[in-house]
Symmetry: C2
Subunit: 223 residues, 2 copies
């Protein structure tokens, strides 16, 4: 294990009043001027690669921290820290399939978010359970990768209902996969009319500037 990566084990709240906890965390972060993004997706949608690319576009403009949640591994936190240099912590859920507000609060307390402008929480790779819990974040982003297919909003409706932003990732793979953007966007807008869409490729960089500008604007509006 890379000794530089701190690991915090977070446990789910037994007595659930998750919404109230989430609101309290949001209030606390607001006072500190910290904007929290909850990043969700399927396993293998390219969350970590996208994060590295995004952070490297933003890190000279704002102070960023990353909380990487995983059931067990520390590979993502190591990758983020090595490739971006920003402050990173690993949250371990010891098998839990999602994060709730208490777990995120414990993560923030252990991490130390004071002085950061933006904290990105990489949730467990799962389109079902993470959507059920308000994490206390200011914005929820769902990454839908092109190879997963344009029918995912139909099959995981809650995820696309709670996500404020949908990033269509791996658009460089359109050479081998069919993906009907209009079909996906129409289905998502039916679930959440306020959704915003960003098609990107972290590999080629296409669309990443627009996404970075949007995130920067949200962080500045939070001050």
């Amino acid at each position: 294990m890379d000794e530089k990566i701190r690991v915090i084990t977070v446990k789910q709240s037994v007595f659930a009043n998750n919404n109230a906890r989430a609101e309290a965390l949001r209030e606390e972060l607001k006072k500190k001027g910290v904007f929290l993004i909850n990043l969700m997706s399927s396993p293998g949608s390219g969350k970590t690669t996208l994060l590295v690319n995004l952070i490297n576009r933003l890190k000279d403009k704002i102070k960023i921290g990353v909380m990487e949640a995983d059931m067990d591994a520390i590979v993502d936190a190591e990758t983020i820290e090595k490739k971006t240099g920003v402050k990173t912590i690993q949250l371990h859920t010891t098998g839990e399939c999602h994060l709730d507000a208490k777990m995120v609060q414990e993560g923030c307390d252990g991490f130390g978010v004071d002085g950061l402008d933006l904290v990105i929480l990489e949730n467990i790779g799962n389109l079902v359970c993470p959507a059920e819990f308000d994490t206390g974040a200011n914005m929820s982003i769902e990454i839908l990768s092109i190879p997963e297919g344009d029918d995912k909003p139909l099959k995981y409706p809650l995820m696309f209902t709670v996500a404020d932003v949908v990033i269509f990732s791996k658009i460089d793979a359109l050479s081998v996969f069919d993906f009907d953007f209009k079909k996906a966007e129409d289905a998502i807008l039916e679930l959440n009319p306020k959704s915003r869409f960003f098609p990107v490729s972290a590999k080629t960089g296409e669309g990443m500037d627009k996404l970075a500008d949007f995130i920067l604007e949200q962080v500045k509006n939070n001050k």
Copy 2:
């Protein structure tokens, strides 16, 4: 809704003795000569497309039924029935992120599995929760698609521990995605030394004959 697709809503057992229920279901199916496969994967790994291709290679040799589990949608069951003609039923979990043995038992009872040689249960697309519950199946298969990456065994260890067979799907996408088979296989074998691997493309048909032969052999050995 296509009226031909039957939908059964299945509910999780409140009083969990899941392992005993799973054993009982396995016994019952054994007596009936039914081989049950539990098919698991991330969302968008190509489970349904692969199933259609596989079933069309097997349906003239054995009697097959498909139980499609989803939280809410019926698109997969419709696709399977339309493209293969085999008996199909949709199980709805009403938001639950996995299937347990009681849910599968209810599914089998409602479906009517008598006379079938092979029943394929398409579990909820999720690498976390389905791995925690013995469904009563004779064999668990995990589909890992090439775009998801070779690091998934490290990040979702329980899934690769419980899976008897790992299908590497979408190998036609190797033109745009790097995937180190040796790295993936070594990590999986460390979790489950008995794992068997099948690299396939349902799109080009590559590897599908070998997979179909293997399944057929398992079904015949069950008699």
